[in-house]
Symmetry: D2
Subunit: 343 residues, 4 copies
């Protein structure tokens, strides 16, 4: 059930609806919108009669929701959500570009990359400190030390930091440094971790699991939204299929489908999505053309020496070329991308 | 083995190489290029020593080919192949747009659609006369009668005709009308049909099978090329995955991968690739941005009354909008699209 | 619509129903059963009122069929279909074992294998004469010459011959030799070929396409049944998934699902299904335990020298062991397997 | 690197090898075998020369391991591992059957089911207390209260308890009650949780992720083994494919493949693997025939009222029939299953 308030509903009207919901033993989720506020009702097992709410002051409509996700759906919010990351908005006209190395490996590697990211006009620096790896014997990231380096890179460049939380135990340390916390594909259905980040208010990038349906992605977002963190950015990063010549199959269909079903922003990660550096630019452009709100790109000053994902990482100069192409394409699509920083 | 001729090699040089190959009991396949001619050798079981050829006049190099496809690969031809369809080129700077109904249903339906296709600036009319359908009880196309209507639509509009050959028996009738013969996804591994169209010189659109790898698509093209028909255009139209919310998963990764591996043009069919009309424009733009040489789009004057694929068909006015967007995007990508026809 | 006749309905009753159906402009398909005859009605677009038939003499019930397949479904026939192959029954208590080389390569290879097949107690010899291959440069089978050898092997051993028809053009030659015509996985949706074998009365083994759903397999069978050939045996042989360590993923779930939905027999091909010889016995036993009506096994006297599929072929002595295990398992499942032939 | 000790090597010999490994800065993992002990070396980046070890007393061989898993592989241990669960062995001649409800719902539901499980001859009771669910609004299990009921059911019936740990935070509570801790498919790549159970010595059932390859399953096991918990039982429970008529595709190929690559036991969960109760028995038998060491079956006294997975749960009487069939089949396969308990 979604209770839609009138445009001129007062704070008291909203409060009364919330109290009514709680009195009935359910949970109320307030979803502010540009035009009007929606209040999601969860916790009910059967149907609730709309009359419980439509008779209250300030209520416009009470509509039953048949989709399994309520807060993530377009019914809950007609307008696109824009997520505020310390002043940078994701989900609006401006495209968000997040770039950086797969793993933080050293100060030199990180700051060289960060400067290239900034100069090319991107505003977000990615870098993994805690790395979930298929093998227990692989490099697992610089951990806390990596977080320290990310904080310093932020201080020096002003870039916003995007880094992954791989479990509940290290989440507080990650949350302390990150402007956006990334939930990796392997953790998309780690519901305890989703609840953990749902209790924060930090923006979250939620990557689609490699065998998760779009509906399951929206349900995972719902876990976060239902705890009150409305700052969720979805990320398509490729699914597992039978095709062996690429690392994953980037499912760009997900972009228009998510845009239709949900108000949440969605970005595209072409680096994992194709898994080979010489296909990244083509797929980045394709992602933007499909309607994505941004890109996440792996770059490395010396890809062949990277401790992880070197094969799919761009060199800084190629990233700069990519940004120039995205900038030109953005205009055609009535979107924008910040100008390159003059040195 | 590929024998690469020098730039200044004479016709006699080429002839001598061919004779040498045939004398050895193998088959020679001449692949003309802008810079120089390559001659593919097939039919050998073991390795052939390059010295058999490098000692001949006009021969530059003789290189063993380890990939399973020889004639379709970049080794055989460095430049992109451009396919000449009665004066319209596919694979060059100009984007090719093929549009029309899934099935030819009536003269009215066809000519209304054809005019809309032409007015929007597209140069190729698609329409199925022989339709392979999952159910023996479904509409199987207007068959020969449909071919007659396609011929008339061509006479009236000047559009080139793209229509599917579903088997060897009806191939001659189809070939008689078609400017481009389409091999559908279900027939990508119908090797007898591939051999049949390999013996023609009509351009072929070869659609990727829904569970075929990119390598298998190139091997299917090889079947056609090996019979001497070099006019092959590949088509990505979506693969089958676990995702249930879209009809197929359009694998746009295939575009940069094919461009890297092969000299053949590749176009994208977003109508089947996403399977819902309100996602077609986004995925058409994404396909062009990924580097495709053209698009194949299903349109219908009254989608809800279509005998097949109505749900994924655009109305003519939406197709016109799509063309306008593609036109603007083409410029950014240093490509072009013919202007809209003024009425 | 299915018209179910009473147990005591006469031939005249059946004839009257057929005439009524044809008068209405539809097609009638008679499906004889142990208890009673069903008559499938196809060709109608909208619903037909049951009263058209229930008022006729000898008619028990007229039930609308909502599934896309009519003749292949359990509604059309409650009992399991048993297919008579020159006296050998497939689909009854006795398990059918079909064994032999992937391709017929020589008389020696074929007759050695055939004798081993017979001695181990199997009754059907498989061997491909026309081979659909991914590469135009691979061995394409001995063709007509292979058919001649199969006929001779049958004459010498008495084994029934199972061999593949790869296209409509060579179908008559294949049909002339085969006791069972195999339609390979790549041709499951080659509807022209399905119609071709539908016009024969020879038993057909219809292999599931590597990316075909179970419903699509039943629809392909429906193509054959709808032309009047009721002798269809389905075959699960593995589907394409993301798992790289096996050639295909043998989907044994298909066995109980097909048994629930359809009256047609289903056999299992573990050789393709796992694609490695040392897994074939385990998966053959699993197939039988899942309820399959038989097995199709690739064997070769010298697997390492096979021109195709050597890696998944059993040596004759291992096949004999496999048969012994299947025989013991058959008893536990209340089925049987013919005794080993004493030399 | 694996260091294989001689049969007559002493404890001191083993100790010396371990010390040598640690002195080199690497980690030593002792893997006891029936014939001889192997010591895995991990933590090295480059190759290690075998001479470091072959010159030590008691060392038979030092072999480099090219597979990404070391401790889980057959190289590390030739014989099958048998896991001791409080006296019940899993991985030997006796088949292990684990049965019970998806979720613990009440004492009545649990104890009724537990008695049925015991009477049918199974020795392990499954029941989820902490349930990972796709929707935040679905029943998430009885949590701690469920654990209490499981402990009581064990006290009353003597059955061993199998229950899932869904995160690190609740792991201690689960470990306190469980005889075997289950790691669910969604958590197969939750490496923090794998490390958590790796630090215990409780036997672990590790379910294959729905889109995980067999190699990834073995790598996940390696995470647990590398922390010293050698009591790992693998579980095939179905993978995600394109087939829509079953919940998952039970990949029984995994059974012979795992048996070839690894010494760890593997069991099969046909309930999730096919997802419909009337296919469970067929697939349970198929799993045993393929060589599985046991089964995990969902049963419920009133499936239609189950709070989760009711559609795939067997009624107790059908489970008893299934056990009877498995018992007969076990004999044919030279395995055994405990007798039914006489009431």
């Amino acid at each position: 059930m979604l209770v839609l308030m009138k445009k001129d509903a007062t704070k008291e009207d909203v409060l009364r609806v919330r109290e009514k919901i709680e009195t009935m033993g359910f949970r109320a989720h307030e979803i502010p919108g540009a035009q009007r506020t929606a209040i999601g009702v969860t916790g009910n097992k059967g149907k609730i009669s709309p009359e419980h709410f439509t008779t209250l002051s300030g209520v416009d409509e009470a509509i039953p929701v048949s989709k399994p996700y309520k807060l993530a759906g377009r019914d809950a919010r007609k307008e696109n959500s824009e997520i505020n990351v310390g002043g940078e908005m994701i989900g609006g006209r401006e495209l968000a570009v997040i770039a950086g190395p797969c793993s933080v490996e050293s100060w030199d590697q990180l700051i060289t990359t960060a400067r290239a990211v900034k100069e090319a006009g991107a505003r977000f620096l990615r870098g993994g400190a805690f790395k979930p790896r298929s093998s227990p014997y692989s490099f697992q990231g610089m951990k806390e030390e990596g977080l320290v380096l990310l904080r310093e890179a932020k201080a020096e460049t002003g870039l916003k930091i995007v880094t992954e939380a791989k479990d509940v135990l290290t989440l507080p340390a990650v949350a302390d440094v990150a402007d956006i916390i990334q939930i990796g594909a392997r953790n998309m259905s780690n519901f305890s971790l989703l609840e953990g980040v749902g209790d924060l208010r930090t923006p979250i990038i939620l990557k689609r699991g490699i065998s998760s349906t779009i509906e399951e992605l929206l349900m995972a977002a719902e876990y976060i939204l239902a705890r009150g963190n409305l700052n969720v950015i979805l990320c398509e990063r490729g699914i597992r299929t039978f095709e062996p010549s690429t690392r994953y199959t980037l499912d760009l269909n997900a972009v228009p489908v998510v845009k239709k079903l949900s108000h949440l922003p969605i970005i595209v990660d072409p680096s994992h999505g194709i898994g080979m550096w010489d296909g990244v630019t083509a797929m980045a452009l394709a992602g933007v053309a499909a309607g994505a709100d941004g890109l996440m790109i792996e770059i490395h000053p010396h890809p062949s020496e990277a401790l992880s994902d070197g094969y799919q990482s761009l060199k800084p100069e190629r990233f700069r070329e990519l940004m120039e192409k995205v900038r030109r394409m953005a205009e055609v699509l009535d979107r924008s991308l910040a100008a390159e920083v003059v040195q």
